[in-house]
Subunit: 231 residues, 4 copies
Amino acid sequence: MSYQSIKEAAYEANMQLPALGLVLFTFGNVSVVDRQAGVFAIKPSGVPYTQLSPDKMVIVDFDGQTVEGALRPSSDTKTHAVLYKHWEHIGGIVHTHSTYATAWAQAQRDIPIYGTTHADHLTVDVPCAAPMNDEMIKGNYEHETGFQIMNCLKERSLSYEDVEMILVGNHAPFTWGKTADKAVYNAAVVEEVARMAYLTESIRADCPRLKDSLIRKHFERKHGPDSYYGQ
Amino acid sequence: MSYQSIKEAAYEANMQLPALGLVLFTFGNVSVVDRQAGVFAIKPSGVPYTQLSPDKMVIVDFDGQTVEGALRPSSDTKTHAVLYKHWEHIGGIVHTHSTYATAWAQAQRDIPIYGTTHADHLTVDVPCAAPMNDEMIKGNYEHETGFQIMNCLKERSLSYEDVEMILVGNHAPFTWGKTADKAVYNAAVVEEVARMAYLTESIRADCPRLKDSLIRKHFERKHGPDSYYGQ
Amino acid sequence: MSYQSIKEAAYEANMQLPALGLVLFTFGNVSVVDRQAGVFAIKPSGVPYTQLSPDKMVIVDFDGQTVEGALRPSSDTKTHAVLYKHWEHIGGIVHTHSTYATAWAQAQRDIPIYGTTHADHLTVDVPCAAPMNDEMIKGNYEHETGFQIMNCLKERSLSYEDVEMILVGNHAPFTWGKTADKAVYNAAVVEEVARMAYLTESIRADCPRLKDSLIRKHFERKHGPDSYYGQ
Amino acid sequence: MSYQSIKEAAYEANMQLPALGLVLFTFGNVSVVDRQAGVFAIKPSGVPYTQLSPDKMVIVDFDGQTVEGALRPSSDTKTHAVLYKHWEHIGGIVHTHSTYATAWAQAQRDIPIYGTTHADHLTVDVPCAAPMNDEMIKGNYEHETGFQIMNCLKERSLSYEDVEMILVGNHAPFTWGKTADKAVYNAAVVEEVARMAYLTESIRADCPRLKDSLIRKHFERKHGPDSYYGQ
């Protein structure tokens, strides 16, 4: 079994990160899952984007064990594994240290929903998961990061199918989606929404959140049963 | 009737948006009107700029009904239709979510006229229309957006021929002009003016507006009867 | 007499402005003087950079009268003319609306000297000339702008040979130099110095100016009699 | 002896600075050491990056004396010489005036450790060395800059092998590493960390530093004895 298809998809998706200006050096990774085979393809750790190729992608199972590949997988691999294991309907995951989204994560703040650009993708603030406790950090850190992400959504009664992006406090954003392309798209969206929210607060310190009626309207015209956005 | 001319013009004008850095993914659209035929050509909804071509443009009448084209038109089509129907002298309309202009819209603030870059194009603050009331939002939203734009200008006694740009509160900018090229030009101008005003307030919190004599001078040297800018 | 040499120099210098990211559309112009002929070559008004060529440059004398050229010269031509007439040792002038320098001009603030990047080029704050009085504005505006610039330096006892950049309050920067290349270089320097000063104040609200000993050292190692910068 | 190898390495490393957006004009330089020969290759002073070539690099000894080369070496050469002389295990040094790092240096502030992007490279705030006293400035300035850098680390009990980047107060960043490539990498890292910290404080004025457990975890997974980042 060659996993050629997810290797190529992971390669293509990873190469979108520098093209979209979302990564400096190797500060990011994308993975693509094959649900039938129970594995995902992920970027090798520390390899520059200019040296990537489909055959360098690493194949890993949902326990984070390498199944195929000569290189060590991304150091965030276990976070990806946990999310694939528990979230059955996602097809791809992206992690970046994109500048504005990371600044919000470092500030440990949710990104408030200030406008329709945000509401086109999400009906709530972009959640920021609290930093983990010291025991989790000292333990199986990247594995626990996956649970920290899942628990943050659970505590807020949010579904991973509705909310496809999160900030991990003090760290950086993770995004996902039904496909790797959608996860990459979400990584660019959270960066732009983070940048706009930062500017909005600078322009008006006491800026109110978007009102409910506009949130509903914009989200539903793009994602609702009667959506009329796209083809 | 093939509408070839406005399809090509709409294609060329749409392609200027990514070239000018005004759009992420598909967050923008340009339309070009044919007054004699009573229709306009507009970008199809959700189609990436890299996949556009003149023949993919959609032909729509001033009631927002598709006249020709295999694809669904931009979800903002009804806003364009309302403006073409009521403003007889415009030839093109642009909508973007450009970062700085959108941040001012999210902050629900007019962009104050702080310098001659602004005055070269506009003698007043860039108006920010209030967000619509909930009934308008739940109703024919994009249609009402057109009226919200027109009413904002009316309430301030501004003419659409003098003021070719507006922010829709919580949403983003719309610009227009006698031609689509002018509307695209205005979309870049409002983004730059928004960026400069943001920086100006950061550099000086209590910054005064530009004085009247300078506003007049700069606007008239570019647009007045004795203008001496351009060829 | 063909003025070919200054036309080509003015063309090359003008084309550097978009390459350096200092202009949007046509918001800028460069001129190059021929002292022997008593004329300068300047960008035509409102012509996009992509359509420029050496033969489109306009030849103007020091009273601002067109000597040769089919196109109308830049609307800022009289400002250039006044400066060439009174400042014998400059060879080129640049005017832009570059974003950060323009924001300081709009805020009507001098750019404080906060670091050695600034001191490498200038031993004082970048001066911001006050906006003109209403009579000067209503009168021969661009001509008066030249005097506003000269008077600002005079009032502060600054020499145009030491200080090769200024902000015109509410308007934007002007820079000059012994050559047009140096004037363009200074246009990029004032933009970068403006950006750094803006960030410096954001990072530390009460930031002190650079101390005298460092100002002297950095300026003199680049410009003093014992300079050891460059070849 | 031709020093061809370090000349080529210095050329390649210098050319990375404009590619990474870290320099305007000639505001930066990289050097590469040959420990056996007791010399380093450094960029010539004031030569634009577009005109560089390996044979233009200047060979200098650890007392700052030119050993080979037709051009004058970078005006910061003596700072490089001092660091090579005292720090036996570094292979390359970079100096830039990159915008955000320079703004922190101008503000004379350490860059606080706010997130894991920072902790991946450094367990402490990026130190900002105090500006020198006036005697040091008037004396052998660039030589003293080297000692100012070394003394800042000493006072804080930091090792140059752990901390590969510093800000020189009022001036700009210096970075180094076991290789010139690593030093260039660090120059990009300090710029990005500076930008993120600036944004973080803008988003949350009272933002706490990263907690110790996360600092340890991230640094050790990349640099510790059981590191699992990279290949």
